[in-house]
């Protein structure tokens, strides 16, 4: 099994198409036109210039034979982040439907409750397995061993399981029972990036607060590993307080208020996800403190890459966030399903997508890219 950790050609192509409205599209396409990938992705690249694109589309269409692909999509909760991923998936589904003549049946179910409502996820997956879905895409806070057992059972019944946005990097790859894991490395592509960004902006010296997700969360565990690594590289950065913000804004707000009361010399607040970071931003406002203006004030950094977060970056209320590549995750999830469940190809066990710290300097294209995904045809769902 191998890992695809690089900037994928597919995502570059999509990005290129987007940026093409403004700057640099032709150069990006030129740079990526010779990369490898699935035939479907190859056809996509042909669409922007290769002479044999129509033939390739035709050939794939013939192989697909109008197949209907039944996909189940179950995020741990319904949230803005997972809505973005889902819409990006719909974009790709619509594209493949138009180009290759396949059709999609899409069902989304999320357990009722919070990230810990894992029993709901297990029930949803079991129901879809018994209904013989072609592909089931899962993101869950459930115990690793429990879900691998479930996935193995699904595979034995011919149902392919795909994980998305899951911290698969924390577990032995050879124990993963999924077809593939479309996500990113929470340690180095999220926690580390945020920690390094803060350290760089503060010039390697300063006091920070951390608002983490619930204890036991794999996302928290992964991001903490990366953030700690950044801290060891910048010993002048001191963590002066941390609290559990439960991944929600009001708890993040309250936790940040409490910590800011205790620590009056804080230079930055790291919210492990964007909702908590935005709650921390409110706490800064309520305390009458100053947001980071590029030189002074309190830096607030989150992670997710939500349109609502981008708007707060523009408004100066959120200094930065780590875009965890939600749009690419949605698109590559569908590409992986198409490649494996329709064309019968094999893909790598880990497909990591590009991530990036987003601040005022690059928020425009990140927001445009996400909004492009959100404008997906709604024929598959809400």
């Amino acid at each position: 099994m191998t890992t695809n950790d690089g900037l994928s050609r597919r995502s570059l192509l999509r990005t290129a198409g987007l940026i093409g409205v403004g700057v640099g599209a032709s150069s990006l396409v030129a740079c990526t036109a010779e990369s490898g990938g699935t035939p479907a992705a190859g056809a996509a690249s042909g669409a922007v210039g290769a002479p044999d694109a129509a033939d390739l589309d035709k050939a794939i269409k013939a192989a697909v034979k109008g197949k209907e692909i039944k996909v189940g999509f179950t995020p741990p909760v319904l949230s803005e982040n997972f809505t973005q991923i889902e819409n990006a998936a719909w974009r790709k589904m619509y594209e493949y439907e138009q180009r290759f003549g396949c059709s999609w049946v899409w069902e989304r179910q999320a357990p009722v409750g919070d990230f810990n409502a894992v029993q709901g996820t297990l029930g949803i997956v079991q129901a879809w397995v018994s209904r013989k879905f072609d592909a089931i895409a899962v993101c869950t806070g459930a115990n690793f061993a429990t879900v691998q057992s479930l996935y193995k059972n699904a595979a034995s019944k011919g149902v392919k399981i795909y994980q998305f946005n899951q911290p698969a990097e924390l577990y032995p790859e050879d124990q993963l029972q999924t077809v593939t894991n479309v996500g990113y490395d929470n340690r180095w592509q999220s926690g580390y990036l945020a920690g390094k960004y803060i350290a760089d902006k503060l010039g390697g010296q300063g006091n920070i607060l951390q608002i983490w997700g619930p204890s036991g969360s794999d996302w928290t565990r992964g991001r903490r590993i990366g953030f700690d690594k950044a801290l060891t590289e910048h010993p002048g950065i001191k963590v002066v307080g941390e609290a559990d913000g439960g991944y929600v804004r009001d708890k993040g707000f309250t936790a940040a208020q409490d910590l800011l009361t205790k620590n009056n010399k804080v230079n930055a607040i790291y919210g492990e996800n964007e909702e908590m970071a935005l709650g921390a931003s409110q706490a800064i406002d309520t305390a009458g403190l100053k947001h980071w203006d590029g030189k002074e004030g309190i830096l607030t950094v989150g992670a997710d890459g939500l349109v609502s977060g981008y708007k707060q970056i523009r408004a100066g209320k959120l200094s930065a966030t780590v875009d965890i590549g939600g749009v690419d995750q949605g698109q590559n999830l569908i590409e992986a399903i198409f490649a494996t469940a329709v064309l019968g190809q094999a893909v790598t066990q880990i497909i990591n997508n590009p991530t990036q710290v987003v601040d005022k300097s690059n928020v425009d294209w990140h927001q445009a890219y996400t909004e492009w995904a959100l404008a997906a045809p709604k024929k598959y769902g809400a």
Partner: protein, 330 residues
């Protein structure tokens, strides 16, 4: 004051289970103030009071239901849906009073439905309100499509959310909690409805034989709980400045815990508004102390659980002590 009346006052004070919790909170706060100097600062006290507002609204409503011998598991979801109604209507340009009225109508209406299901169709309280928890939560999820509601905030709403202060450290939610607590306390202690509510909770059969229309009292109790959940939702939407689809998740447990810590009985017939507020304070104070003292997050749930047990034990111990000192007849 005569010796007899003075003894009566002392006895009543001793019999008040809330005193036990207050003693516990006072001891804990004193200790923490020595350990963590920022704990007793004006800023932190303001933070604590602001943070307890949402649970306070819910706990007052929950106490009314518990007194009536019921249980309302739906308050978190009803709060969330009401928050969604208020936020969405405001975002659509509907005037604030109308948007809030609609949110209150939704909350009260869902409470009424709970009451009707329980009294008219005989659905057990637990099941009816559990179903409503799911229905209201699902409705918000469906309505929002999983996307938070944004763009509804205005300057007045910052005040309603407690993000702006009216005078000194005083915020509108603080004033509202006082007004609501006093009103509900008067209703419970001085009105016929209050007497009937306690009677229904103590023995619905006995109350029925005494001519109390038990069904009406229970329906009213659930409607009040729904109304309070809507008030909490309107407040929370202002405090968080966004309404994510899972906004009310888990709040029902905090509301029940606050009411029970404050002396309400899950068996009905017991409970006080001031107790509910003390219960809300206990929960909020616990989390504040955890944050200030840097308790490792893995231990936070354990600490909260221990505090709950301690609070209820303090409540019971004080009641036992009151029985011990109570003057015996003859």
């Amino acid at each position: 004051m005569s010796t007899a009346s003075s003894r009566g006052w002392r006895t009543r004070a001793l019999q008040d289970p809330a005193i036990g919790i207050l003693v516990l909170l006072a001891v804990a706060s004193t200790v923490i103030a020595f350990i963590e100097p920022t704990f007793a600062t004006r800023g932190n006290v303001t933070n604590i009071i602001n943070a307890m507002m949402t649970i306070s609204f819910l706990a007052v409503g929950m106490t009314v239901v518990l007194i009536a011998g019921g249980l309302d598991l739906s308050v978190g979801s009803v709060m969330g849906l009401s928050a969604g109604v208020a936020a969405n209507f405001l975002a659509d340009g509907i005037p604030m009073p109308l948007a809030f009225l609609c949110a209150l109508a939704v909350g009260t209406g869902l409470g009424l439905i709970n009451g009707l299901l329980i009294t008219k169709l005989g659905v057990p309280d637990f099941i009816a309100t559990l179903a409503m928890l799911s229905l209201a939560g699902g409705a918000l999820l469906y309505w929002t499509r999983g996307v938070p509601i944004l763009g509804y905030m205005s300057e007045p709403y910052y005040y309603i959310g407690g993000l702006r202060r009216v005078v000194g450290p005083i915020t509108i939610p603080m004033l509202l909690v006082v007004v609501i607590a006093v009103t509900v306390a008067i209703v419970l202690n001085l009105s016929k409805f209050g007497v009937k509510l306690y009677a229904v909770g103590s023995s619905s059969t006995g109350a029925l034989h005494a001519g109390v229309r038990v069904d009406r009292i229970k329906i009213a109790a659930y409607a009040i709980s729904g109304f309070m959940a809507a008030v909490a939702g309107i407040h929370l939407a202002g405090r968080t400045t966004t309404v994510p689809p899972s906004i009310g998740s888990g709040y029902e447990i905090s509301a029940i815990a606050a009411a029970v810590i404050g002396g309400a009985s899950l068996l009905g017939g017991k409970g006080r508004v001031v107790g509910a507020l003390i219960g809300a304070l206990t929960l909020t104070l616990t989390r504040n102390i955890i944050n200030l003292t840097g308790v490792e997050s893995s231990w936070q749930a354990v600490v909260i659980g221990l505090v709950l047990i301690l609070a209820v034990l303090a409540n019971q111990t004080w009641s036992d002590l009151a029985r011990f000192v109570r003057p015996r007849p003859g």
